[in-house]
């Protein structure tokens, strides 16, 4: 390639170029082919209805994969095997997805599937998510799949219908934002702290109109689960997608998974996937550099994911309307410490942090310890496969012995639409991705944090730097 006349291009441009059915013109946007559409019960019913209204069939049911996760209870079924939904409407929504998928021949992982889980946990676990793919879902955290070098982004319900009917989307070409993250992470600092720190730097709208590529030594040394945590929160700075070039860590993760290529196909796929990286000399529309060696356990103090501080820092004074409003809602005083605030609920779960690595980190910290008396702790694995693996390792016994609730897989308290929610005024330390007002229940105050910080806070009943417990206990 050294003498090639091909211009240097970025990872994003390579994947984009491969999927152009038609390039954009002055009058029309590009037609982009979609390799995989992930479906769930909340954002699909109106799309299936639209197809029905027009008498259309799903063009490629083999390129769809469905699960139930948002509206589903995380309490076990009763003795008769019946799951009890929060509302009849929630159950009707799940029933409707079953009907739609059956009518259209789409693979749906319901209660009886060993793979069922949060859509962004299940896809990678099954090997459905692969490098170089275009992947969409009616969910803004679809960027998670970009950890594999896929171009993956959230879409609205109308567009879900477009993809069901044509396997294509009309898209304007986004800008590129390179985020280089260099250096070794300190003890007690995880991928979640890295991405919270990045969002704090870029700002809650700073990535709007862009696809992010994360790269640098910090990213290269991360396992796939950590990379998924990073890409997952790309939307929280406004970017629809976040990508990481695939490497041996990616290939090792995928090898042998149910939907990954096999045999000769595997070798050919890996050869192709190795070409999916940004060429030397290629440039991004914008570049942000992050020194990871300085990152500390990070938490949010306000009402959007860009309001981030290191856990031992003081809460900002609040010199503008947005900060004052956030401090008012959070019942915090600018200039005071966040560490030490009493915590009512701890939630460990969501498509950001509900995978094995997250659960192992939380369990290591909670082992042989007890949850604080006045703190409720919910631990919600991301999928059935994760639940089984965690139980085989005995993580559930550690959590239950500590006094935490070990629940069935689902989105749960991340968006609190299934009945899992906190009480008005509660302070929640949550490993999820959004701290918007009322996100986890009416009047609920959310602090976003890593699984380590959440586990430490569960033990002390106060917002706690995990290093305080790790140094004392291990």
């Amino acid at each position: 390639m050294s003498e090639s006349s091909q211009p240097s291009t970025t990872l994003f441009e390579k994947v984009w170029q491969r999927h152009l059915v038609r390039n954009e013109t002055a009058e029309t946007p590009a037609i982009l082919y979609i390799d995989l559409q992930l479906l769930h019960e909340v954002t699909s019913p109106q799309a299936f209805d639209e197809l029905k209204r027009r008498g259309l069939k799903v063009r490629r049911p083999d390129r769809c994969l469905a699960t139930i996760d948002h509206s589903t209870p995380t309490t076990p079924p009763d003795a008769g095997g019946v799951y009890h939904y929060h509302t009849p409407q929630a159950q009707a929504q799940v029933d409707m997805l079953h009907t739609n998928c059956a009518e259209q021949g789409i693979e749906l992982h319901g209660w009886d599937s060993p793979h069922r889980g949060i859509v962004h946990v299940m896809g990678p676990e099954m090997g459905a998510t692969q490098p170089g793919m275009t992947i969409v879902c009616g969910d803004s955290h679809t960027a998670t799949h970009g950890a594999f070098g896929a171009l993956a982004f959230g879409i609205g319900t109308t567009e879900v219908g477009h993809v069901l009917a044509t396997q294509c989307l009309l898209q304007a070409r986004p800008k590129t934002l390179g985020i280089r993250i260099e250096g070794k992470l300190q003890s007690g600092v995880t991928a979640k702290d890295v991405i919270l720190h990045v969002i704090g730097q870029v700002g809650v709208g700073g990535g709007t109109g862009s696809v992010i590529e994360y790269f640098g030594s910090t990213i290269r040394s991360m396992d796939m689960e950590s990379r998924m945590t990073v890409c997952n929160m790309s939307i929280e700075c406004g970017a629809r997608a976040g990508m990481i070039a695939p490497d041996e860590i990616t290939f090792n993760y995928l090898r042998g998974r149910p939907l990954a290529p096999r045999g000769e196909d595997w070798a050919a796929a890996v050869e192709d996937w190795k070409t999916l990286k940004t060429d030397p000399g290629a440039s991004y529309d914008r570049l942000v550099e992050i020194d990871a060696t300085n990152i500390e356990p990070s938490v949010t103090w306000g009402t959007n994911p860009g309001m981030v501080i290191a856990i031992n820092d003081a809460i900002p004074a609040g010199n503008d309307d947005a900060s004052r409003d956030a401090l008012d809602y959070m019942q915090f005083k600018g200039g005071t410490g966040l560490a030490g605030q009493p915590v009512d609920v701890v939630f460990i779960g969501s498509c950001t942090n509900s995978r094995m690595r997250d659960l192992r980190e939380a369990a290591a910290l909670m082992k042989n310890r007890k949850v604080a008396e006045n703190t409720r702790v919910l631990i919600v694995p991301g999928s059935e496969a994760t639940r089984k693996e965690a139980e085989a390792e005995g993580l559930n016994r550690i959590f239950v012995a500590a006094g935490a609730e070990w629940r069935e897989p689902g989105c749960s308290m991340c968006l609190a639409m299934n009945g899992d929610s906190a009480e008005p005024g509660d302070l929640v330390v949550s490993t999820s991705n959004r701290n918007f007002k009322g996100r986890q229940g009416r009047g609920v105050r959310t602090i976003l944090a890593s699984p380590l910080t959440a586990a430490a806070s569960a033990i002390t009943g106060r917002v706690t730097n995990p290093l305080d417990l790790m140094e004392a206990g291990e």
């Binding site: 059915v21 009058e27 929630a90 929504q93 304007a172 709208g205 406004g238 309307d321 639409m417």
Partner: protein
Amino acid sequence: MSHSGLVESRTFCLPVKNIDTDQIIPGQFLTTTEREGLGKFCFYSWRYDEKGNDRSDNPLKAHDAANEQVLVAGSNFGCGSSREHAPWALLDFGFKAVISSQFADIFRSNSLKNGLLPVEVEDHVAQFLLDHPGHPVRIDIRSSTLSVEDLGEFEFPLDPFSAYCLTRGIDQLDFLLENDAEISRFEQA
């Protein structure tokens, strides 16, 4: 749906930055399988208390639905989730356009597919409007211009395809379906 191409109305202002889709329609209302009738849930937590009673500090209390069809809000409007329920709720509540100095990508895309106009303007225009609640404005899709009485006329970014589809009543899915042969060729390549 077909759009007349013109919105003439007084504005209604919510001078708040980063209004996320959980504020526009909280997650608890997303178990619906319909797209109609969501206006009653629009800004629900801002309008009603925990028991469902009217809040005395409801910032939308004074909204005059008949005469204030253009919402003006702080920057980064519609950030957060991909729920199309957000523009569905705003439209059903009575808004036909939103003016802000920045829109979140998915919200913008969802809005254009439903005839809710995202009008992105420079900071000084947004600030003028936020300082003058109830101001008369005129939005013309064909020329993608916003006219603000006493301030001037401003072009706003609107991709020509969305403008064309909105004003001709052309459906984007119909356009995609017309490209069936090219999609098939791509699939076989």
